[in-house]
Amino acid sequence: MKVTLKVWRQKSRNTPGEFKTYESPALNPNMSFLEMLDVVNEELANRGEEPIAFDHDCREGICGTCSLVIDGKPHGPHQGVATCQTYMRSFKNGDEIVVEPFRARAFPLVKDLVVDRKALDRIQHAGGFISVRTGSAPDANNILVPKENADLAMDAAQCIGCGACVAACKNASAMLFVAAKVSHLGLLPQGQPERHRRVKAMVDQMDAEGFGGCTVTGSCEAVCPKEISLDFIARMNRDYAAALIRGEPKPIAGSGAG
C-alpha cells in the first residue's frame, strides 16, 4: 500500500510553518504509523532533505512521548491507543493522511511535529505527590486499601502524561490530566493528609500555565490512549470545591513542640 502525507513542517518556534506533501514508498500494512514515518524519513534523508521531526520513545504505548494529530484526531483513528500503537492496516491504499502537532498555547512548538509539554511537569511539581521521605514508611500491609479503591486509583494512575486530552479540547484544558493525578492520590488513604492542598495547588498551576477551562465536552476522554474516564473530573471538582470551602488548614492550638 501507499499513502500521501500532508505534514506540518516548521523549522522552529519563531519561523512560519506550512503543510508539505509527501508520497510514501510502498508500505506493509503491519507497520506501525511511526515505522511508516521512519521509512519516509529515510527516503528524505537519502534525497538530502531534512527528516520530519517527531517525538517518540518506547513505541509500546506507555511512555507518553509520542503525540501527533492524525486526520484531526490526537493519536489517530483508534480508541484507547497511542500513535505508536496505530498500525497502517487502519488506513487504505491511496489515503491522504494529515499529520499535525498537538496544538495548545501551553504546548509551545519546538520543531515540525514536536511540542514542549513541560507545563504538565510543572503541574506535578505543584503537588502531584505524597510527601513521604525515603526510609520513613511503615510496613506496606499496615496501610489497608479496599480493592475497589485500589482498582479505581489504578484506573486514574495509568495516565501516561501525553497531553492528547489537551490537544483534543477546544479550550486546550488539561483537566483530565490533572483530575487523573488528583484522583489517584485522593482515592488512597496515604493521600488524605495533603488531599485538599494538593488539588488546590495543582489546579492553580494548571491555570497559571495557560490551559483553558473545562466545558465537559468529553473530547479528552474520547482520545485518551488509556481511556481515562471523565468521572475523574467530577471527582476533582468536588475535591476542589471542598478545598475552597475549607480554606487553608489552620494548625491546632497547643500542638507545637519546643
Binding site: N28, C58, G64
Partner: protein, 652 residues
C-alpha cells in the same frame, strides 16, 4: 591495569550491610548542602537516587535526554517487583530471595551485593506503598502477589501489567516534590556526551541540550550514572528507541571499567519479528507464563496448520517436559534457549518459523475468560493491536528478543566505579544479576540502588573530598572534554557520506544478533568482531547526517549513539569470545552438557544445558579502555563465595 577493589565488608554475609552502613563516614547536615551531585538518568534508579539525595540535603542536579523525567524506559516494565515479604506465608525469606537470585544468575554475581539487595527489597515495597503506588490488592485490602520465573514462591508485587510505570511515577513524584522545594535542579532534553575526569576523579559532565544544540559544562563533587542498559546495540530489542549507551560508553573511554559486557538477556516471550521495517520488538510480560503454556507441534509438518486443529497428543509442551519442577516458569535464559532449540529443529511456528505458541486455552477453561482478562487484559489488548490476532481465541505467537543487559560499568560494593567519584546504578552497572536476571528483579535493583544503597554509601566518598572545593568548569579537563564532544559532532555533520545512521544501526544489530545472540561460538565471534570492525570503518567513511548542530536534530543524536554502539558491540563480542564457558544468558556451544555427563545421568540438567567452568571463569571480567585502535585490557575480579556453594544450576 586498573585497580579493582570490590570493598566487600568483612563479617558474616547477613550482617555485612548493617556493619558497613555503620562504618561508612557521614557528612554533617550543615556540610551536605556544600556538596553538589550530578545524577544522569531518571528511571527507577536515577529518580529515586536524585530524590533521596536531595532529601538528605545534598545539592542535586538531574539530567535526562527526555522532555520529562517520567518518560524513562523503566516505565515500560510490565510484570512486577520482587520482595522477600513472605506475605503469602509460602516459605519466602531474605535468604531465599538471595539464593534464588544468586542461582538465577548462574553463580556469577557477588554474594554480598545480592544479599543486600534481598535485604532492602522489603523496604522498597513499604516506600512505594506509602508514596501511593496502586499495587494490586486482595479484597481485605492487603497486598496481592504473583509468581515469576526462577522461584517457587509468590513474592512478586504488581500493578496490573504496568508495574514499572507505577513505580516510576512513584519515584517521579518524589523527584517532583524535591524539584518543587529546590533540592533538585532538573535538566530535561539534556544528553550527557562526556564525563570530565580531574586528577583521576569524576568531577563533571558535558551536556548537549537537544532542543537548542547548546553544549554546556557541569561540575560536581560526584557523578552518578543511572542511564540504563546497552541492549539497543542489537537495534531490534524491547528497549525504547531512545535508550542508548553513550553515557556509560564515554565514561568507559575515560577510564571506567566495563564489567561482563557479554551477559545479555534475551527474553523468551516477545512478539516475533515480522519485517525489515520493524523499529522495535514488544515484550509480552513473563507473568503470562503463570497461566500460559508454551508449546510447539511435535511434527514439523504440523507447523503451518491452524493450532486449534493440532491434537493435544501432537503438541510438545517442551518446558513442562524438560523442566518439570519449574515448567513454564523456568528462568528466562533457559526458556529462550529452549525456544531456539525447537525452532532450529524445524518445529517453529508462524510465517518465519521463528515462533512458539503461548496458549491460554487451559487457563480460560480453568478460570474463565473474565479472570484471564482481569489478570492480563492490557497485554492481550497490546498483542491484538500489534498482530491483529485475538489471544483469547488462538494462542499467542512469541519468540525471544533482546531485553536487558546484566553487564555494565564495574562498581564496588559502594556502587562506585574504579574511577573515584563515579557511581553507577541500576541496569547501567554490572553488579547484582550475574549471568542472568530473574523476572521482577530489575525494578527491585533499580529502586534498591537509588533509594537505599547509594544514599548510604556516597558519603564515604564525599567525606574524602573537601566541601566547596570541586574544580571549576574552566579547568583544563572540562575544556578538553567539551572540545572532544565538539570534534565528534563536527566530524559527523561534515562527513559527506551517503548512508543514514539508522541503516548502519540495522546492519550492526543484525551482525551482533547473528554472532553474539542466543548461541555463540568461537568462530562466529571471531567473524563478528571482524565484521563489526569493517562496518565501523564504513560508518565513518559513509555516514550522512542531516541538519545542523545548533538545533533540534534527531539525526545527529542518533548518529552519535550508533557510533558508540559500534564500539560497544565489538567489546561485547570480545568478552563473549574470551569467556570460554557457558553461564546464564551467555551460551557458548562448545560448553554444554551432553548425555555422557554425570549431571545429566543424575537428572539434574538436560543435554544442551549451559556448562560453567568455575575452575577457570569464576571471576568478573572488567575491561579497561586502552586507547583508539588498541585492544582493551582485561582485569579480573575473582568471585569469592563465602556462603553459597557454586553448584549445578538445576530447574528439573
Amino acid at each position: 591495569m586498573a585497580t579493582l577493589n570490590s570493598n566487600i565488608p568483612a563479617g558474616p554475609l547477613a550482617q555485612k550491610w548493617e556493619h558497613h552502613k555503620f562504618s561508612t563516614k557521614l557528612i554533617n547536615p550543615a556540610n551536605k548542602r556544600k556538596y553538589k551531585i550530578i545524577v544522569v538518568g531518571a528511571g527507577l534508579a536515577g529518580s529515586s537516587a536524585a530524590a533521596t539525595l536531595a532529601e538528605l540535603g545534598y545539592e542535586v542536579h538531574n539530567f535526562v535526554f527526555h522532555d520529562s523525567p517520567r518518560r524513562a524506559h523503566s516505565v515500560a516494565a510490565q510484570g512486577g517487583i520482587n520482595a522477600a515479604k513472605n506475605y503469602q506465608n509460602d516459605g519466602d525469606s531474605v535468604h531465599r530471595l538471595f539464593y534464588d537470585t544468586i542461582k538465577g544468575g548462574d553463580f556469577r554475581a557477588r554474594e554480598a551485593n545480592v544479599h543486600r539487595l534481598a535485604e532492602v527489597s522489603v523496604n522498597i515495597i513499604d516506600q512505594c506503598a506509602a508514596q501511593g503506588v496502586p499495587f494490586a490488592r486482595e479484597y481485605g485490602g492487603l497486598l496481592d502477589n504473583r509468581s515469576f520465573g526462577g522461584a517457587q514462591v509468590s513474592r512478586t508485587f504488581y500493578a496490573r501489567g504496568q508495574t514499572g510505570q507505577q513505580l516510576l511515577l512513584g519515584a517521579y513524584s518524589a523527584l517532583c516534590r524535591n524539584i518543587a522545594n529546590g533540592g533538585v535542579k532538573s535538566h530535561t532534553h539534556a544528553e550527557m556526551l562526556d564525563l570530565v575526569v580531574v586528577d583521576g576523579h569524576a568531577k563533571g559532565i558535558i551536556v548537549r541540550n537537544l532542543q537548542t544544540g547548546e553544549i554546556t559544562r557541569h561540575n560536581a563533587d560526584a557523578v552518578v550514572l543511572a542511564t540504563g542498559g546497552y541492549g539497543n546495540a542489537y537495534n531490534l530489542s524491547t528497549y525504547a528507541r531512545g535508550s542508548n549507551a553513550t553515557a556509560i560508553w564515554r565514561a568507559y573511554k575515560r577510564g571506567a571499567c566495563f564489567g561482563n559486557p557479554c551477559y545479555t538477556q534475551i527474553h523468551p516471550t516477545c512478539i516475533p519479528v515480522s519485517g525489515d521495517y520493524q523499529s522495535k520488538l514488544t515484550l509480552m510480560s513473563e507473568s503470562l507464563r503463570n497461566d500460559g503454556r508454551v508449546w510447539v507441534p511435535k511434527k514439523k509438518d504440523d507447523c503451518k496448520r491452524n493450532p486449534a486443529d493440532i491434537a493435544e497428543s501432537d503438541r510438545d509442551y517442551y518446558l513442562e517436559r524438560m523442566y518439570p519442577a519449574f515448567g513454564n516458569l523456568a528462568p528466562r535464559d533457559i526458556a529462550s534457549r529452549a525456544a531456539k532449540v525447537v525452532c532450529d529443529e524445524g518445529r517453529g511456528i508462524g510465517e518465519t518459523g521463528l515462533g512458539v505458541y503461548l496458549d491460554f486455552a487451559d487457563a480460560i477453561k480453568r478460570l474463565g475468560e473474565g479472570k484471564v482478562r482481569e489478570r492480563y487484559g492490557n497485554l492481550f489488548a497490546m498483542y491484538h493491536e500489534i498482530t491483529n490476532e485475538d489471544a483469547y481465541q488462538t494462542p499467542m505467537r512469541i519468540y525471544p528478543a533482546m531485553h536487558y543487559t546484566m553487564g555494565g560499568l564495574w562498581v564496588d560494593y559502594n556502587l562506585m566505579s574504579n574511577l573515584p567519584g563515579l557511581f553507577v546504578l541500576g541496569e547501567a552497572n554490572f553488579s547484582d544479576h550475574g549471568a542472568n536476571r530473574l523476572g521482577a528483579s530489575a525494578l527491585m535493583q533499580g529502586l534498591a540502588d537509588g533509594y537505599f544503597v547509594l544514599p548510604a554509601t556516597i558519603s564515604g566518598y564525599l567525606a574524602t573530598q573537601k566541601p566547596d572545593k570541586r574544580p571549576a568548569t574552566d579547568n583544563a579537563a572540562f575544556k578538553q572534554a567539551e572540545e572532544s564532544v565538539q570534534t565528534i559532532t563536527k566530524r559527523l555533520l561534515n562527513n559527506k557520506g551517503s548512508r543514514t545512521p539508522a541503516s548502519f544501526h540495522k546492519a550492526l544489530g543484525k551482525l551482533i544478533w547473528e554472532h553474539c545472540g542466543m548461541a555463540r561460538t568461537k568462530a562466529g565471534l571471531e567473524r563478528g568482531i571482524k565484521l563489526i570492525g569493517e562496518l565501523r570503518e564504513q560508518y565513518w567513511k559513509h555516514v550522512k547526517v542531516a541538519g545542523e548542530a545548533g538545533e533540534w536534530n534527531q539525526s545527529l543524536e542518533n548518529a552519535g549513539r550508533v557510533a558508540d554502539f559500534m564500539e560497544l558491540g565489538e567489546l561485547l563480542c570480545r568478552d563473549a569470545l574470551h569467556r570460554e564457558e557457558s553461564c546464564g544468558g551467555h551460551f557458548r556451544e562448545e560448553y554444554q552438557y551432553t548425555k555422557n555427563d554425570a549431571e545429566v545421568q543424575q537428572g539434574l540438567v538436560n543435554p544442551g544445558d549451559v556448562k560453567r567452568r568455575d575452575d577457570v571463569f569464576a571471576y568478573v571480567a572488567a575491561w579497561e579502555y586502552a586507547g583508539e585502535g588498541k585492544a582493551p585490557v582485561l582485569n579480573k575480579e575473582p568471585l569469592v563465595y563465602e556462603e553459597v556453594k557454586m553448584s549445578t544450576r538445576s530447574y528439573k
